[in-house]
Structure formats: C-alpha cells, structure tokens
C-alpha cells in the first residue's frame, strides 16, 4: 500500500484545491449567536456611554459659557437722591469706568432703557420720575481682561455719591458652584455608566469565549502556543468589539448632530443661555471616538485574558 503524502505542488490536482484565492478562515467562528449578542450588547453600552460623555461635554461647555458671559461685564448702580441729576451722575460714573484699563465700554442706561427694562413688572407708560428707580451703567470688559475693580469701586464711592459697583462676584460664585456640581454629577454618572459598560462587555465577552471553548482546546491539543490561540481570539473579538462600538458611537453622534440641528432651528435665546445648545464640541466628538475605541480594546483584552486563563486550566 503506498502512503505517499506528497510535498507541496506534487501529486494533487490544483483545480480541486480548496482555499484558492481566499484568506485562511478565522480559527474562531464568526457567525455565532454569542458573537451577535456581544455586538448588540457592545453597541448598546457604547451608545449609552457616548450619550453620557456627550452630555457631560455639553454641561461643561454651558457652565463655562455662563461664567464667561457673566465675567464679560459689570454693573454700576446709582441710587436716586432728592434733587440729584441722575443723568449727570450716570455719565460721570461711565467716564470713571472708561478710564480703567481693561474696560471696553461703559454705557449708562437712559431713562427710556430703564423703563423698557422694568416694563414686564411695572407695565407700559409708567414714568420713572415718580419712582425711586436706580440708574445703571453697563461696563463691558475687554476679552480676558481683569480690571482693578477695587480701585474703580473706591473712585466711584469718592466721586459719585450713592454709586456702587456690582462685579457679579456672588452671582459668579453661585454659577461656578452650580456648574461644578452639574459637571461633577455628570462625571459621576459617566463613571457609573462606564463601570456598567466595562462589566457588561467583560461578562458578555467571557460568555462568548466560553461558547468557543472547544476551539481553544483543539488548538491547544494540536500544539498551538498560548500566544497563537489568544491572538486568534483577541483579533476576532477586537473586530466584534469594533463593530459594536462603531455602531453605538455612530448612533450617539447622529443623535447629537440631529439634536444640534433641531436646536439651531428652534433657537430660543433664553433657553440657549440657560441650558446651552445640544451641540458637541470637537473635544466631545473625539471623546466619543475614544470611548468606542476603548470599549473595542477592552473586548479584545478581555477575550485574551479569558482564553489565557482557560489554557492555564487545561494544563
């Protein structure tokens, strides 16, 4: 009986050869139910994590925007006194303010401006002459400037009786606290969502690896090194992880893009000031991309660790 196993290229019909013109098949099955379930779980968890990452970014941007908006101007208030020329006092206060370095403009509110400002509360046609209404001077600051408010306050006290400077410190401090609290709350939620994501991905990946235990064992028994087996699994699971995380991340990005577009269409200045727009910064988008990549890598690393642990048990 001849058992003549030929060396390459000899004795076999190349037309009958399998595998012509294609890559070697994956050693880890591709279309398993566990694999599909893993992709779905990763997509859902990436979507939730990306929504949280994006929301935190929006909250942080909004908080920073409130703060910088308030920081860009201060107000001089002049209380009325009997027989006082309020227009002259306001003009004097504005002139003092303009002399301070870092001040871009200082404009007194006219009596008509004040009436318009108070109209929602007092109604139209009310004469402010009969009311002890203060006069305001709005002082706008140059971008990034930190004028000497103490000196301005002292000059106002000396030269314009009844004038006081409101540099919004108290309001700013409350805004800063509110912004920090909202950002901290968002980061805490993000931490929880990321923990849940990591745990879900971890257990789903381990489950999917367990479903392929026979593959690990057969490769082990035909003499494959641990690195070879773990590499085959981590490559396969990286692809599964990338598929799921790209789907989840893309859905979240699409939601932010659509939300931003709708927000621009139905723009309400008051709501914009308070809540900001549902628009992600470039940093926010890159954070979503980073989250998706992190989750895909986590899937690959988890599968590698699960396979290595199983291989150690086999020996």
């Amino acid at each position: 009986m001849p058992l003549s196993i030929p060396r390459s290229g000899r004795g076999a019909d190349p037309l009958a050869s399998p595998g012509d013109g294609r890559r070697a098949p994956s050693l880890v099955p591709s279309g398993s139910l566990a694999g599909t379930a893993l992709v779905v779980i990763i997509a859902i968890m990436t979507f939730l994590a990306s929504l949280t990452v994006g929301s935190v970014d929006i909250v942080r941007t909004a908080a920073a925007s409130w703060q910088s908006g308030v920081q860009r101007e201060v107000t001089i208030q002049i209380r009325p006194r009997d027989g006082r020329d309020m227009d002259a006092a306001a003009a004097q206060a504005a002139a003092l303010a303009r002399e301070v370095t870092g001040v871009a403009s200082a404009e007194p509110y006219s009596q008509a401006d004040m009436a318009a400002l108070l109209e929602p509360w007092l109604g139209a046609g009310v004469s402010l002459d009969q009311l002890p209404a203060p006069r305001l001077v709005v002082v706008r600051l140059q971008e990034g400037a930190r004028p000497d408010f103490d000196a301005l306050a002292a000059a106002l006290t000396d030269q314009v009786p009844g004038a006081s400077l409101d540099d919004h410190r108290g309001w700013l401090e409350r805004l800063r606290l509110t912004g920090s609290a909202l950002t901290g709350f968002g980061l805490a939620i993000l931490g929880l969502v990321l923990c849940a994501t990591i745990l879900s991905v971890l257990f789903a990946t381990r489950g999917a690896v367990a479903g392929n235990r026979d593959v690990v064992e057969v490769l082990h028994l035909v003499g494959a090194r641990d690195r070879f087996v773990a590499g085959a699994f981590s490559r396969r699971f990286l692809r599964l992880g990338l598929r799921g995380s790209v789907i989840g991340g893309a859905l979240a990005v699409a939601l932010f893009v659509v939300g931003g577009a709708i927000g621009r269409e139905a723009s309400d200045p008051a709501a914009d000031i308070l809540f900001g727009r549902m628009e992600l910064s470039l940093w926010g988008y890159s954070q979503i991309g980073g989250t998706a990549l992190l989750i895909a890598l986590l899937t690959a690393v988890t599968s590698r660790m699960a396979v290595m642990a199983h291989l150690r048990r086999l020996d």
């Binding site: 030929p6 390459s8 290229g9 399998p18 057969v218 028994l221 035909v222 003499g223 070879f228």
Partner: protein, 219 residues
C-alpha cells in the same frame, strides 16, 4: 521515547484508576492498547499526551521528565505527538480540509505550501470528495477519518489513537490500519487503543492489556 515508572493516577479523593504502570515505548515501535471499558485506556492516553499529570510515579517523554517540563515547552512536545480522539474533536466551522490542515497552520505554514499534501491525504483516507464539507454534514466514519488525517498530517514522531476504527466498516478499518502501519514504517511510534480484536489480529504487534487500572504487556 516514553517511559513510565510506577505511575498512579486518581481523580479527586477516589481510588486510583491507574496503578503501578511501568513500561517503555521505544522509537519506531507499534503497540495496541486494549482492555474493557472503564479500564483506564483514555486516562492512559491523556497521560501520554501530557494533558494529565500522574498522582505518583515518573513519566518521561522524549527523554524529558514530564514534571520538569515548563508550560511554555508543552506545545513543542505536543507537536511531536499526534492524537486521534474518540470523539473526533473536529471544529464545526472549518471545512474538512481546514480541520486536517490545522496542525500545519499552527506551525505557521502557508496554505500554498501544504495544500497539495492535505488534499492527497484526504483522498487517501477516502475523503477526496468531502474536502469542502463541514463536520456537521459528515457521517461518523467520515469524521473519524478526518480526525485521523489531522493527527498524521504533520508526521508526528508518536501517534496515539483512541478507538480509531470504532465507526468504520471492516474494509475501511483495514485501510486505516494500513495507514498507521505505513506511518510506523516511516519511523513513527504508534499506540492504538481499541476494543477490536479482529483489528489487532491483522497486525502482529505488542499488546498492552489494561484491566482494573493495571497493565500487562504481551510481546
């Protein structure tokens, strides 16, 4: 090549399933391993394949004490041993060709290099027309032949076969035995575990009889 000295094996706290086994398997030798069901044949094969460690005694494979072999060196030893499992252990998502080629792929060889060799072996074991079939559609006999082909494709120095003819007709059993004999003649040591007395009668070889965990050798 293989040396057992006073080897004992027990699973958990029960009594030993293999007791005081002492024997040698020489290079280029051929032997059958037989005995009643539950006598410990599969456990002995697993000890020989280094997938179990003995509870006591000494096992030496290819001149190395198995207790002193580092984990990272085990793949090198296993690549020198071919094994045919009783339950075949074929991967359902790979074709017959891909299953048989697995040991060569694990060695890092390219498909263009081993393709002809694998196809020829598959034809020889009667699976020439099942090259692209997946294991779930193969009959028991076809699976067994694919498992045998996978075990011999890398031309191991030592071949272990657990009931390799259990699911094939007598004609094919003789043909598969001839494959093992040819491998033996080309330098491979062969150990076939079988219940099939008729098969053993076809070839004059040393017989290991395992009964109640103890081994007697009939040269």
């Amino acid at each position: 090549m293989v040396r057992f000295e006073n080897v004992g094996l027990r699973y958990g706290p029960g009594q030993e399933v293999l007791r005081d086994l002492s024997f040698r398997i020489a290079p280029h030798s051929f032997q059958f391993l037989t005995g009643p069901s539950g006598a410990g044949k599969t456990s002995l094969l697993r000890l020989l394949f280094l997938s179990l460690k003995p509870t006591r005694g000494l096992i030496s494979v290819f001149g190395r004490d198995t207790t002193a072999i580092a984990r990272r060196d085990l793949p090198d030893i296993r690549r020198r041993i071919g094994i045919v499992f009783q339950d075949f252990r074929l991967l359902d998502h790979l074709t017959t060709f891909e299953n048989v080629a697995l040991p060569l792929r694990v060695l890092g060889r390219e498909e263009t290099v081993y393709r002809a060799e694998v196809v020829e072996l598959l034809r020889w074991v009667g699976l020439g027309d099942r090259i692209n079939a997946y294991p779930p559609v193969l009959s028991g006999g076809e699976k067994q032949r694919a498992a045998i082909a996978r075990a011999v494709i890398a031309r191991p120095e030592f071949l272990l076969a657990d009931e390799p003819t259990g699911n094939v007709d007598p004609h094919l059993a003789r043909r598969l035995l001839r494959l093992f004999v040819e491998l033996h003649k080309s330098g491979t040591s062969v150990l076939i575990a079988t219940h099939d007395i008729a098969l053993m009668d076809l070839y004059d070889a040393r017989r290991f009889l395992l009964e109640d965990g103890r081994l007697t050798i009939h040269d």
